[in-house]
Symmetry: C2
């Protein structure tokens, strides 16, 4: 059974893939609007933890729409959700796997589909959408990450990875300037990027 | 890292244990009020799928309270939730494992703790509560079960397993009679019991 996991190169989507690996044939899929080459970080991370990688292009119209939604609400949440929904729909439409997954957690607010959107996606496309981290809180995820992954954590402005915010932040800044950008994305947002996966005997030593 | 999985002998809690197995030291824990010996079915199923088993006694006062709650609402949901909460609290209080888990799914309504109850449990007891099936819908779970488990499914009145309903149904019937029993538990409720786990090469053959 093949699963395509939406992948950013961060610890959550990496851990999600690791939890699925014993039960599925896993392929990591990174979506890009083609504005930046930040997806290359995800490709590198996928290689470093040993999974096949695929790049999928999203319609740049969705990025424009997500920026408009962020400006309307004054914060990124629903704009990020719009991109996430489009990414899931686009990968599901490929028809290459019976399962699609992501690294969203129990305590996440965005990106996050609500249960109606999930059921709609599953009913329309016949895909099964699974969220391996949906039943894990922060402390449990941290414990599993410590066992399996070496990561670097930093502010999202300095750390290159490939989550949806990277291209959205960049376009927002270019199109509306520094002031608007800092109004919409005011907080320091600590992001992770995966460096490598511990081998089994390393885990035991730790 | 040790996890104690609340276990009924059914397909959900069995699949939950299987999903955790590559990442945790798994022990299956069945809770009983001591009214019936239905827990023996869970012990047998645990043996059949190859996990260590532990029996934990719950205070029968909780069963009486859950029956009262069911009668107040006219349906079992909140009474079942009360028992589930007590089971999680009791196993967490043992202090034998850093993690506790169950087989509750994305689409379940009961038993189910809400997010405040989960955070309260984690904060008070320092345990991490994980729900491996929280991100899986019915179709995804069915697909995984077909790969890993041989099960028998039947109406819960005829199938002996060890979920919370078994003792609650029995006490309700004894204490309040057939009419009240059928008012609270009117529906045919299809339950599963695990017979055995497929070996790896069997899976490949299928």
């Amino acid at each position: 059974m093949k699963v395509q996991v939406l992948y950013s190169g961060g610890k959550d989507s990496s851990l999600s893939a690791i939890l699925l690996e014993p039960f599925f044939e896993v392929e990591l899929v990174t979506c890009t609007f083609g504005l930046e080459r930040s997806w290359e970080n995800a490709r590198q991370a996928a290689h470093d933890i040993g999974f096949p990688f695929k790049l999928v292009k999203l319609d740049p119209k969705t990025l424009d729409e997500s920026i408009e939604v962020m400006l309307k609400f004054g914060y990124p949440r629903y704009g990020i959700n719009l991109i996430h929904k489009e990414a899931l729909e686009t990968v599901a439409a490929l028809g290459e796997a019976a399962f699609i997954a992501d690294g969203t957690r129990r305590d996440d607010r965005a990106p996050m589909l609500n249960i109606s959107e999930i059921r709609s996606l599953e009913d329309r496309t016949n895909i099964r959408y699974v969220r391996p981290l949906a039943g894990y809180g922060k402390s449990a995820i941290d414990a599993l990450v410590r066992e399996h992954l070496e990561i670097v954590e930093a502010n999202s402005e300095t750390l290159e990875k490939a989550d949806y915010e990277t291209e959205a932040r960049s376009l927002m800044r270019d199109k509306y300037g520094e002031d608007v950008y800092h109004r919409i994305f005011p907080h320091k947002h600590i992001q992770s990027r995966v460096l490598r996966r511990f081998k089994h005997d390393e885990k035991v030593e730790r």
